[in-house]
């Protein structure tokens, strides 16, 4: 016996779906282009190669933090510990290389693992101890801040005697244009993150948990395990950001890092990732991070005082989220 079911307009559905998603990407990208055109008209220095390099370089640390935390935000969580977590990984990299005299490569791996450990602890608190992400990572933020000061004795650890350490970020292995390594690493992290999020099982469960955690659990997915994995992955991104930060400054600065988490979250939000979970993209986050640094840089070039730059970025966040909501309403 055969059953006639309500027929779906399969083809038209497909078209509508792909066009609204494309629109989101195009909108964010278009705002970035408009900003760039605006600033390049306002100042002839804006499009100089050294300025572009400066913009890209200043995007790297916040950008990498934002990439990692995009995973967490898509699950419907939040990670406030990435700023000071990054500080702690810088300090631990310093401890491994300067105090313990380990080879640079071991120091880097150690730093990244430190980041992973911070992420894992946050993930454990959230999924096993069931502490709300905001509180769990707020606690982790303070723990990491305090530990950074304790371990370093509240003074910077300098890598001046470690030959080539600052080349990790500021050297260039690129054959053309001498793009700084930090920028190359940032783009590499975008690609790694993009593959993880859209091509692997981790990415699928990241969206699934954010979309409906209970349904995911009832589908037989070990949600606790996957959440810990996702926070740990975000922690690895924090670790990479910490190493790059240390290399750029050629030192581990134990009191620098607080506040970075909010800038990273802002970049994620501007990039169209929903704080209620289930929706988001790393390309969006990349564009969001670029919008933030283009704005900061452009306003500085136009000699707008620092204080006002912050006000403008605040307004941009409001606008970005408002337009995103309008777009969703229109769907």
């Amino acid at each position: 016996m055969s059953v006639t079911l309500i027929s779906t307009k399969t083809e038209s559905n497909k078209k509508i779906l792909s066009s609204t998603e494309a629109l989101q990407q195009i909108l964010a990208f278009a705002s970035l282009i408009i900003l760039i055109i605006f600033f390049s008209l306002a100042s002839e220095n804006f499009l100089s190669w050294s300025n572009i390099e400066g913009i890209l370089l200043s995007t790297t640390v916040i950008g990498i933090l934002a990439l990692g935390t995009t995973f967490v935000i898509i699950t419907g969580g939040i990670d406030l510990s990435i700023g000071t977590g990054m500080t702690l990984t810088s300090v631990m990299t310093g401890v491994f290389i300067v105090f313990l005299g380990l080879p640079v490569i071991m120091g880097i791996i150690g730093g990244i693992l430190m980041g992973a450990l911070i992420g894992f602890i946050s993930g454990f608190s959230v999924s096993v101890l069931k502490i709300p992400p905001f509180i769990a990572t707020l606690a982790m933020m303070m723990i990491a801040e305090g530990l950074s000061l304790v371990i370093s004795g509240a003074s910077p650890i300098y890598f001046s005697d470690v030959e080539g350490f600052n080349l990790i970020a500021l050297g260039s292995i690129s054959p053309v244009l001498s793009i700084p390594n930090a920028v190359l690493i940032f783009f590499l992290m975008v690609i790694i993150g993009w593959i993880l999020l859209s091509k692997t099982i981790v990415g699928r469960y990241t969206f699934s948990i954010g979309s409906n955690e209970e349904a995911t659990r009832l589908s037989g997915i070990n949600v606790k395990k996957w959440k810990m994995i996702i926070y740990t992955i975000a922690g690895c991104f924090t670790g990479v950001a910490g190493v790059i930060m240390a290399s750029r400054l050629n030192s581990a600065q134990p009191s620098l890092g607080m506040g970075y988490e909010l800038e990273a979250i802002a970049a994620v939000v501007i990039g169209g990732t929903s704080l209620s979970g289930g929706k988001g993209s790393l390309i969006g986050t990349l564009i969001g991070a670029l919008i933030m640094s283009v704005l900061t840089n452009g306003l500085r070039i136009m000699s707008i005082p620092q204080e006002w730059q912050t006000v403008v970025i605040g307004l941009v966040i409001l606008l970005a989220v408002y337009f995103d909501m309008l777009r969703k309403k229109g769907e």
Partner: protein
């Protein structure tokens, strides 16, 4: 045990402080639809959760294909061929159809880490072809209607080669047409040898679709009856442990003279030229299919959605732009989704009752709690809210009592026009009766009531007059003495 696919014997389960199930029985034959019914709290859900591995039983045995089983999680039950489709569909709205169906079983490439989306969509397409379902595997769930989402759930269950399929209130959110489609699918499944445990409160559906009916009450097994030879009235009385009379109201239309609310040419995105009037002391029923625009009328009048048109209250034209305007004109709205729109679940009975009338109790912005307690107690006694005290948190109350708290809120606010949207949704049979009596006594006291309901017996039982809607229009008006189910359904499906 000959021929049975499933047999649950003497199942018991205790939660801290509550005996949820004691010695419950259930058996199921291949290719049959067994209706499982009982009031809220009768233990149906607990029993099904034990069968699907969400809860573990304290005592008893489950035999499946003549082998004893004890699933410890939903996945284990699914792999055995026992699947449940929950009332609140358990899908991930931001994932596609195919991603939802194969969640946890995604086709993968190297290292079991990379996804193979091509194979995923092909598998889904093959599944739909086998089931004769037309769905695009790449569509996001959030873009589908509830009926199609349900189809995804059914397809998901069948992708596990389900032999036993549990459906919990599957028709709660469906239109009549969609219900017919669902029943076609159920019949097809039966022919394929799939057994279905069908949980529903809707008696007329059970008559249509089920082979046998198992009744539970207060965590105990009561009886199993063959549907064909059983009167539904008998089933209901087994459920509640007493006879319930279902009757129709026949009121004299001349009783009501004073028009309190007049609505002229209401138009908005959903509504087309909706006009009607409501008189003092009257219960005006709004009947129609789900999606006919009845809730939208209520939302417009209450200022929750924008509209054009005229609203006249007590003879003077009023401007209602937002809910606060409506409340100030004496309108109270009781949403069909009281947990979301009607109550602050974590707050107490007293706080919920007083929330709309706080200005009565404040002196220079300070709230005087003693008066609130006194008034809340008065109303909760009057409405017979079953609660140990008005300091109890609302989420610990049953559905019927929560509904009464919402009613008390508007009574305390002294609202004269009460709009009830599905007043008995999710409320068990016994408590329904109480809500009916309450509505009638409110009308007698001079409150004017607009009542939206999808249950025709309920509309006929309560309404003095019935407005029928379809596709955003009023398609007819019936006096209670002229109304019957057939006439209402004709108007509810009338097209313009």
């Amino acid at each position: 045990m000959s021929g049975k696919i499933l047999e649950m014997k003497n199942i018991s389960k205790t939660f801290p402080g509550v005996k949820a199930l004691s010695n419950v029985l259930l058996d199921l034959y291949p290719g049959e639809v067994l209706a499982l019914i009982g009031e809220n709290g009768a233990g149906k859900s607990t029993l099904m959760k034990i069968l699907t591995g969400i809860y573990q039983k304290d005592a008893g045995h489950i035999f499946y294909n003549n082998q004893e089983i004890a699933p410890t999680n939903p996945k284990e039950a699914q792999e055995l061929g026992i699947n449940i489709i929950h009332q609140e569909l358990n899908l991930m709205p931001d994932l596609t159809v195919a991603e939802n169906i194969f969640i946890g079983r995604e086709p993968r490439d190297f290292l079991n880490f990379f996804l193979n989306n091509k194979e995923l969509n092909q598998k889904a397409e093959a599944l739909f072809e086998r089931l004769n379902i037309k769905l695009n595997p790449r569509t996001k769930i959030s873009k589908l209607t509830v009926a199609k989402q349900q189809m995804v759930e059914i397809a998901k269950a069948l992708s596990f080669n389900a032999k036993v399929l549990i459906m919990d209130e599957p028709t709660a959110a469906l239109t009549d047409k969609e219900i017919n489609t669902l029943f076609n699918i159920i019949n097809w499944l039966k022919n394929e040898g799939v057994s279905i445990i069908y949980i529903s409160h809707r008696m007329e559906e059970l008559k249509r679709i089920s082979d046998r009916i198992t009744v539970m009450r207060d965590g105990e097994y009561i009886d199993t009856l063959p549907t064909e030879t059983t009167e539904m009235k008998q089933v209901v009385s087994l459920m509640v442990g007493r006879e319930i009379k279902i009757e129709q109201k026949t009121s004299n239309p001349d009783t009501f003279t004073e028009t309190i609310l007049e609505v002229n040419n209401l138009n908005n995105h959903y509504l087309k030229d909706v006009s009607f009037h409501l008189r003092k002391g009257e219960i005006l029923g709004f009947a129609g299919l789900v999606g006919a625009g009845r809730t939208e009328v209520a939302r417009a009048i209450f200022g929750a959605d924008s509209f054009t048109g005229e609203i006249i209250i007590n003879g003077s034209k009023v401007s209602i732009k937002q809910p606060v305007d409506a409340v100030n004109h004496g309108i109270g709205y009781l949403s069909e989704d009281r947990k979301r729109y009607g109550l602050m679940l974590d707050m107490t009975v007293k706080e919920n009752i007083a929330i709309s009338s706080l200005s009565k109790y404040t002196m220079a912005s300070f709230v005087k709690p003693s008066n609130i307690k006194k008034d809340a107690e008065e109303y909760s006694t009057k409405l017979k809210v079953k609660t140990p005290s008005v300091n109890q948190r609302v989420k610990l109350l049953s559905g019927g009592n929560q509904q009464k708290v919402v009613i008390a809120k508007w009574l305390l606010k002294n609202s004269d026009i009460l709009i009830f949207d599905e007043p008995t949704r999710g409320i068990d049979v016994g408590a329904k009766q109480e809500i009916y009596e309450l509505l009638e006594s409110l009308a007698k006291e001079g409150k004017s009531i607009m009542m939206i309901s999808s249950e025709l017996p309920e509309v006929l039982r309560l309404s003095d007059r019935i407005m029928v809607m379809n596709e955003g229009r009023i398609t007819g008006e019936l006096l209670s003495k002229d109304a019957d189910q057939k006439r209402i359904m004709e108007l509810a499906t009338k097209h313009y």
